[in-house]
Symmetry: C2
Subunit: 213 residues, 2 copies
C-alpha cells in the first residue's frame, strides 16, 4: 500500500518463513525487506520512513509528525497483531508449505506459550477481545473516513496491513458489517483499483500474489 501510495513499482518476490538464506543479505531474518537501488531496508516502519525520505511526493504521513504515525504503527504491531493472531494463527499454520510447518509451530508456540490449537480455542471470546482492542480505531473512524483524515495514508495502511494478513490467511470474519472499521477496510480494499481486494487468499487455495498499479 505504501509503494502504491507513492506510485512506485516494485518486484515482489515470494518467500517462505524458513527460507532465511534468501534474505540473509539484509542482515536479519524477517520480512518485509525492500531493496532500493542496492540498499536493503527491513521492517515495515523503517521502509515507510525510507520511502518518505527518498520519495517525498505523495506524502505517506500527511502533515502529521512521524512519531504520531509511528504510535499507530506500534499499536498495530503490539496490540492488534496479538489479538488477531489469537483467531487466525492455526489457519496460518494450515496454509503453510510443509517445509515451513515445523519451524512455524515451534517458534510461534514458544512465543505464545501455548499450542496453536490452544491459542485459537473459543473463537467467539477472541473476537470479542479483538473488538475491545479495536475500540480506539472505531472511535477515530467515527468522525473521519481515514486515520489520515479525508484521505488514507500510512497511519491507515499499517493497520490495514494486519487485516490483509488475516484476510489472506484465514476465512474468519473479524468485523461486523455495522462496524465503521468494516467500512474503512472496504474502502482500502477498493483503493488503487482494488489492488488489495485482488490479492489471492489461502482460503481460495491460491498462492498470495500482489500486483502493483
Amino acid at each position: 500500500m505504501a509503494l502504491a501510495h507513492k506510485r512506485l513499482n516494485a518486484n515482489c518476490i515470494a518467500w517462505r518463513f524458513s527460507d532465511k538464506q534468501k534474505i540473509a543479505f539484509s542482515g536479519q531474518g524477517a520480512v518485509p525487506v525492500l531493496v532500493d537501488h542496492g540498499q536493503s531496508i527491513h521492517d515495515s516502519w523503517r521502509i515507510a520512513k525510507h520511502l518518505e525520505e527518498n520519495y517525498p511526493s505523495q506524502s505517506l504521513f500527511g502533515n502529521a509528525s512521524a512519531s504520531l504515525v509511528q504510535f499507530v504503527n506500534a499499536w498495530a504491531d503490539r496490540a492488534l497483531v496479538p489479538a488477531i493472531a489469537q483467531i487466525v494463527i492455526l489457519d496460518v499454520f494450515n496454509g503453510l508449505h510443509e517445509q515451513d510447518k515445523a519451524y512455524f509451530r515451534a517458534s510461534r508456540e514458544k512465543m505464545l506459550g501455548a499450542s496453536l490449537e490452544a491459542v485459537v480455542e473459543d473463537k467467539p471470546t477472541k473476537i470479542t477481545k479483538l473488538k475491545r482492542v479495536l475500540a480506539p480505531l472505531r472511535q477515530a473512524l467515527g468522525e473521519q473516513a481515514y486515520l489520515g483524515g479525508n484521505a488514507a495514508n500510512y497511519a491507515d495502511y499499517c493497520v490495514f496491513g494486519m487485516f490483509m494478513w488475516a484476510r489472506c490467511v484465514s476465512p474468519s470474519e473479524l468485523l461486523e458489517k455495522e462496524d465503521p472499521i468494516y467500512t474503512w477496510r472496504e474502502r482500502l480494499l477498493d483503493a488503487f483499483d482494488g489492488m488489495a481486494r485482488a490479492a489471492f487468499t489461502v482460503s481460495e487455495n491460491q498462492r498470495l500474489k500482489v500486483t502493483y498499479p
Copy 2:
C-alpha cells in the same frame, strides 16, 4: 494543558464525584465540563475540538488529522486508563471526601466487576501489564521528543493527563527512570513554567489545585 497551550485563561471550579447537581446544566454527569461564552461543552475530546475550532492559533493538533489525534485520545481512554486504574483505584478511593466514597465504590466496583481491593492486588504484575500497554507510546517516543514531533500538542496532553491523574491521586511510581516515557513525562511536567508539576497531590495531603499561566 490544552488551555495553557492555547494561552487561554479559565477559572477552575473544584468538584466532587457525587456532586452531579453542580454540572447538571451540561446535560450529563461527568467532568470535564468547559463553559465558554455561555456554551457548555463536556468530554475532554469534544473540549479539545471546540478549542481548536474557536481558537485556531497555537494549533492543538499540529498538522495531523483530527482522527489521528482522536485515535491517541481513544487509546488513552480505552487502553491506558484501565491499566493505570488497576494500580491506583484504591488510592483514589482513599483520597476521596467521605461524601463521595459510597458512590465511588459502588459505581467503580460495578464497572470493574470486582472489589477495589481485589483490583489492585499484586501491584508488580499490574505495573508489568501497564508497561506492556505502553509499548506503542514507548516506541513512538524513541525517535522524537513528543507525539506531536518536536513540540507537544494534544496527542501528548491527552496521554499525559492520565499520568497526571495517577500522580495526583497515588504515590505509586508507574514508570522506570530509564523509560523514554519517563523523560517525556518530565518534559511535560516542566511545560508552561512547571504548571503540571505544581499541581498539588493527594499524597501530599493537599487538595488538587491547578493554576493557569
